[in-house]
C-alpha cells in the first residue's frame, strides 16, 4: 500500500490542530482526512513541532511588550502636550514609567 503520509514534510502544533507543510491548517477532527493522515504520521514515530520555537515565543513576547508600551506612551502623550502648552509639570511617576516604556521597545 502506498505511503499516505509521504506528503507531510513538516508538522507543527497549532491552536486547534496542526499546521502541515507550513501552509495547511488541519483541525482536530477524526472525520477530516488530513487529520487522519497526521495521526498516521505520528504513529510512524514522528512528533509535531511545538507551535512556536523559543525564538518565536521570545519574539511574540517582545511584540506584546512593544505594543503595550506604545499604547502606554500614546495614552500619556497628553501630559507632554499639556506641559508644552501650559508649563504644567509631568508627574515623576509618569516620567519614570514613560522612560521604562521607551526602553522596553525593541
Amino acid at each position: 500500500m502506498e505511503n499516505q503520509t509521504a506528503w507531510i514534510t513538516s508538522c507543527k502544533l497549532q491552536d486547534s490542530g496542526y499546521l502541515v507543510n507550513g501552509n495547511m491548517s488541519v483541525p482536530n477532527d477524526p472525520a477530516n482526512r488530513h487529520y487522519v493522515m497526521v495521526q498516521e504520521w505520528i504513529a510512524e514515530g514522528n512528533t509535531p513541532a511545538p507551535e512556536f520555537t523559543d525564538a518565536e515565543i521570545a519574539a511574540n513576547a517582545q511584540a506584546v511588550i512593544n505594543s503595550d508600551s506604545l499604547a502606554y506612551l500614546a495614552s500619556t502623550d497628553w501630559y507632554v502636550t499639556r506641559q508644552a502648552e501650559t508649563g504644567a509639570d509631568i508627574p515623576q511617576d509618569i516620567l519614570t514609567a514613560r522612560a521604562e516604556a521607551r526602553a522596553s521597545i525593541v
Binding site: 502506498e2 499516505q4 497549532q14 491552536d15 486547534s16 490542530g17 499546521l19 501552509n23 495547511m24 491548517s25 488541519v26 483541525p27 482536530n28 477532527d29 472525520a31 477530516n32 482526512r33 488530513h34 487529520y35 511574540n60 511584540a63 506584546v64 512593544n66 505594543s67 503595550d68 506604545l70 499604547a71
Partner: protein, 324 residues
C-alpha cells in the same frame, strides 16, 4: 429503446402489470422524479481547485482535481494526466506500466447508506477508450465484481452495471465508492501502455435496475453540492475581510469569524493561496484558528496589534477541504 415503445408498455401496465414493471418502464423512459443521480459532479462542470483544460499530471492515490473526483495511478513507473474536455474528462497514460489509473468518487454516509441499504442501484457512464481495459468499477468494502468494459474501439459506449447492496449500517464514510478508469477486473493490475486513454462523461448512480438518462443539474446546484466537500473564500478584492483584536485583551494577533458558503462534511482543513498583503494595517497570510462545519475563525499572521485594533485581510484565497 424508443420512448414510444415504453409509453405503449405503460398503457399495458395500467391494465394489470406489476408495480415493478411500471417502475422499470418509467425508469426506462427517464421520467423518474426527484434528485436521482447520487454522484456529485458527474457531468464534470465544477472545478474549484483549478483549470485542467490542459493535461495535468497526477500521481499516487490521493489527488483531487475536478471537484469530488479523486485520481489515482498505481504501478511502478506509472504516470498519467487528466484533461478536462468540457463535460468529459480524459485520463491518459504517460508511460507503460502494470497497474491502473482511475477516477473515483467516495460516497458520504449521512443517511445515504440507510437509503441504499438492501437496495438495487445502477451505475452508468459514457466511456470512450482505445483499450479494452477501460471499465467502470465499484468498491463496497471490497471490489464488487463489475465486469463492464469498453470495447477499446475509440467510440463512445454507455457502460452500466447493477448492484444490490446489503446492509450498509456501520460502514464508514467513503467505504462505498464508484470508479471509472483503466484497470483489471476487480482492480487486479493490468497492462497499461503509454498512450492508453479513457474518456468519460455523464457518470450516474441511481436507484433501480435501469440506467436512465443522465440528470443534468445547473452549475449553481452542482456547485452547492460540491461545496460541502470543498469551498473557497475569496479575499482577492480589497475590502472583504477585516480581522480584529478584541478590546480589553492584551496586544496580539487579530481574529475574525467567517461563515462558510455551505455546511461542510467535516471540520475542514485550510490551505491558502495567492499573495497576501502584509503591511501595518494588513494581516498577512491567515491561519485557521478554529473551525466548525459552517464557520471558521481566521487569525492574522503579521505581528501583534493593540487591543481594539484591526487589520485588513486581503490578497488571496482560503481553500477549505472536507473531502473524503
Amino acid at each position: 429503446m424508443s420512448n414510444a415503445r415504453n409509453i405503449a408498455a405503460l398503457s399495458t401496465v395500467e391494465v394489470g402489470a406489476t408495480a415493478d414493471q411500471t417502475k422499470a418502464d418509467l425508469n426506462a423512459i427517464g421520467v423518474s422524479g426527484g434528485r436521482k443521480n447520487l454522484i456529485i459532479n458527474g457531468g464534470f462542470q465544477i472545478s474549484q481547485r483549478g483549470t485542467y483544460t490542459s493535461a495535468t499530471a497526477y500521481s499516487g492515490s490521493g489527488t483531487y482535481l475536478l471537484d469530488r473526483w479523486k485520481m489515482t495511478v498505481t504501478g511502478s513507473g506509472s504516470s498519467a494526466t487528466l484533461q478536462d474536455l468540457g463535460g468529459s474528462v480524459k485520463l491518459l497514460a504517460g508511460s507503460t506500466f502494470t497497474g491502473s489509473t482511475r477516477a473515483y468518487q467516495k460516497l458520504e454516509d449521512k443517511g445515504l447508506y440507510k437509503l441504499l441499504s438492501n437496495k438495487t442501484v445502477t451505475f452508468s457512464a459514457w466511456v470512450k477508450s482505445n483499450t479494452a481495459n477501460a471499465r467502470i468499477e465499484a468498491w463496497i468494502n471490497a471490489w464488487v465484481g463489475f465486469d463492464q468494459t469498453h470495447s477499446g474501439s475509440g467510440e463512445w459506449e454507455k457502460l452500466s452495471a447493477t448492484y444490490t447492496f446489503g446492509d450498509l449500517t456501520g460502514h464508514p464514510d467513503g467505504n462505498v465508492n464508484f470508479q471509472v478508469g483503466i484497470d483489471g477486473f476487480n482492480s487486479v493490475d493490468c497492462a497499461v501502455t503509454s498512450g492508453d486513454y479513457v474518456e468519460f462523461k455523464e457518470v450516474q448512480l441511481e436507484l433501480g435496475s435501469v440506467a436512465t438518462d443522465f440528470e443534468h443539474r445547473s452549475y449553481g446546484e452542482e456547485l452547492q453540492l460540491c461545496q460541502r466537500y470543498y469551498q473557497i473564500l475569496d479575499f482577492t478584492r480589497s475590502h472583504l475581510g477585516v480581522l480584529h483584536r478584541a478590546t480589553g485583551t492584551t496586544a496580539g494577533l487579530p481574529y475574525t469569524v467567517f461563515s462558510l458558503t455551505a455546511t461542510m462534511r467535516a471540520y475542514p482543513s485550510m490551505t491558502t493561496s495567492g499573495t497576501w498583503a502584509t503591511a501595518v494595517d494588513q494581516a498577512g497570510t491567515p491561519t485557521l484558528y478554529e473551525t466548525s462545519y459552517s464557520s471558521v475563525t481566521l487569525r492574522g499572521n503579521n505581528g501583534s496589534i493593540v487591543a481594539g485594533g484591526s487589520q485588513w485581510l486581503r490578497g488571496g484565497f482560503c481553500n477549505f477541504d472536507a473531502e473524503l
